[in-house]
């Protein structure tokens, strides 16, 4: 892996690139094929299902807007997970940090009513990052100091975060109405929709810009992806993160504090997940309620794995899962296939990406049948 990286910095090495994206692409295709098979066995028409899915995700500017909308938190959560994975940290509880990010954005947004947007929006995003990082901090310390497995601790913190949010939206932060949710965020704290940037005349002339509910959070996500890529590639912080993931003993010998790097890595991972929660609250719902995330933190795991932890590759991977999530509704409506099939396909993608040995395994099985020369 290191040699191919060295080569690609001199110029584009197409063979290496093809090899790198080969497994993810093959994994997605295999997963979709098996998903289709499951649909077919269950009595559905997979062709109708996937064409409906396509219609609902790329079929119109509005559908594409929905895909962007779903991809935005997935990019951010996926980046957070990828950063942790690079240091060999499995932040399975990104969902909890995402909840705390959403909470921080909502609470501060309500408190900052009347402030101009150029003050409110950056402050809300920073607060969400801090909240996400803070929620990852205790698991991080426990991991670094005594080796408590982050899979268990971050998962427990996810459940705790859900109860904290569900308490706040029926208690202290509750909107004085019947529904358990906060009040609507002031307009200055909301991320504007992409189509609101264009005048009505422009939209009339160019209807392909009518992205529906898609919002400027996508810009935040894209910037985050590029920044994280630069951090990993060019900074000491990123180098230490990778070094610890590659070989903690060698890193320690080389003068890197593994404990401190572990804490930083999980907190940065949490900060990005927190940001994912913030864009969802500020861009989509404009308020907080206890079901505001449809498992973006968990889907982020699949996104990061499919992207092989490369920050820029997280973008297309998130678009894929965002599209599936956006099109699932149309699929259920048109082809009557339960949306849950998407989760099955997602799990299959993870299996295939993780099992890089799968192809060599089957090749070996075949080789065994051929009698070899006795040495």
């Amino acid at each position: 892996m290191n040699t191919s990286k060295a080569k690609s910095s001199e110029g584009l090495d197409w063979i290496a690139i093809t090899q790198k994206i080969g497994t993810p692409v093959a994994s997605v295709i295999l997963a979709i094929l098996i998903g289709s098979f499951i649909m077919w066995v269950s009595g559905y028409n997979p062709v109708a299902a996937f064409s409906a899915l396509y219609q609902g995700s790329f079929g119109s500017p509005k559908a594409f807007g929905d895909t962007l909308l779903r991809s935005t938190p997935l990019i951010l959560a996926g980046l957070g997970l990828a950063y942790g994975f690079k240091a060999n940290l499995f932040n399975i509880g990104a969902e909890g940090q995402l909840f705390m990010g959403g909470l921080a954005a909502a609470a501060l947004g309500l408190a900052l009513a009347g402030q101009p947007w150029y003050l409110a929006i950056p402050l809300l995003l920073i607060a969400a990052m801090l909240a996400g990082a803070a929620w990852a901090f205790i698991p991080a310390i426990l991991k670094a100091r005594i080796g408590a497995h982050e899979v268990i601790t971050t998962m427990m913190f996810t459940y705790i975060a859900r109860y904290v949010v569900s308490w706040l939206v029926v208690g202290p932060l509750k909107d004085p109405g019947q529904i358990p949710q906060t009040r609507l965020l002031p307009v200055e704290s909301q991320l504007p929709r992409i189509q609101s940037l264009f005048s009505d005349a422009t939209l009339q002339a160019m209807p392909f810009l009518k992205f529906g509910r898609a919002h400027m959070g996508i810009l935040v996500a894209l910037i985050a992806a590029v920044v994280l890529w630069l951090v990993l590639k060019y900074t000491t912080l990123g180098y230490e993160n990778r070094a610890v993931g590659f070989n903690p003993f060698a890193a320690e010998t080389g003068g890197i504090s593994v404990q401190w790097t572990t804490v930083k890595s999980l907190c940065i991972s949490g900060a990005l997940a927190g940001l994912a929660g913030a864009v969802e609250v500020m861009g989509v719902h404009h308020r907080l309620f206890d079901q505001f995330s449809s498992g973006f933190g968990f889907t982020g795991i699949a996104v990061a794995l499919l992207a092989k932890n490369h920050p820029l590759a997280v973008i297309p991977a998130a678009l894929l899962f965002g599209a599936m999530s956006a099109g699932a509704g149309t699929m259920q409506l048109v082809a009557d296939v339960p949306q849950k099939i998407i989760l099955i396909v997602q799990a299959l993608v993870i299996f295939f990406v993780a099992a890089e040995g799968i192809i060599t395994y089957f090749l070996k099985q075949r080789q065994k049948e051929v009698p070899s020369h006795v040495g």
């Binding site: 499951i38 269950s42 009595g43 499995f90 399975i92 205790i138 698991p139 426990l142 100091r145 005594i146 080796g147 408590a148 497995h149 899979v151 268990i152 601790t153 998962m155 427990m156 913190f157 459940y159 705790i160 109860y163 904290v164 569900s166 308490w167 029926v170 208690g171 968990f298 795991i301 699949a302 794995l305 339960p338 849950k340 099939i341 998407i342 989760l343 099955i344 997602q346 799990a347 299959l348 993870i350 299996f351 993780a354 099992a355 890089e356 040995g357 799968i358 395994y361």
Partner: protein, 319 residues
Amino acid sequence: MLGDIITPDLFASAFRMATPLALAAIGGTICERSGVVNIALEGIMLVGAFAGVAVTLAFGSPWLGVVAAVLAGVAIAAIHAFTSINLRSDQVVSGTAINILALGLTGFLMEIMYGHPGTTEAIITIKPVFRFATERGSGTFFGVIWNWFNTIVLSHTPIVYGAIIIAVVAQWAMYNTRWGLHLRALGEHPRAVDTVGVSVVRGRWIAVLMSGALAGLAGANLTLEQVGSFTENMTNGRGFIALAANIFGRWTPVGSYSASLLFGFFDALQIKLQIFRGEINIPPQFFLMMPYVLTVVVLAGVVGRAVGPAAVGKPYKKG
């Protein structure tokens, strides 16, 4: 108030709450002792819970449901065994994929079998093994003793007793049989096991399948003995708490059971305390988060001194 909280029912409830955790935790112990991490316990439990209810609804027999839950658990565990042992995938990643698969599969099957998401209709649950009147001769000293004994020890359903028996038998087998010796060696030094001519692949496969059977049984206990219906994602993190119980129990079956009993007790306590919410004025969410907080506290207190099997999580490559 204390007299209303500390009742025989509280302790009986602790055993009931502990059972799914303990079964999954013992499964986790066996699996990790063989050198394979199994964070898929959560998903396996969920599939077991669903299979149990689906078969009970179809055939009217909860016992057939138990068998189905165990078999479903074994089937799902086989996927984990294949990917992590034969394909040498990252075991945590494979486990995560199974958890997502379980969520999707149970939800998908629920919609195509019953036409709606959410919760299935109620089933006939498995009844307690013994049945004695609770209030026999209360008032006298022996009447009170009998009441406590009857409620805490004699009021349970079969799998609750089964879990205790499994814990004891697994503990004995782990330290007194050839299988147990091989199992422990697999997790500490697989190459040594290989060198003496015992198959690492076979040994680990058996361990993973056993953990699947136990997690499936845990699911059966949850739906067929406790809740009486299946709800999507009803395991609610129990698989992960079970992993913590396994660590707290220092990778031994009886230790896993004891740790689960502690978690079960606090779960029973928080349910009991909720009744007095009016008097102590704490939001219900704080009670509900107690098991998760406790899990973190326990891990924080114990992990530094508990060391797991040396080769856990490392795929074994022969040669």
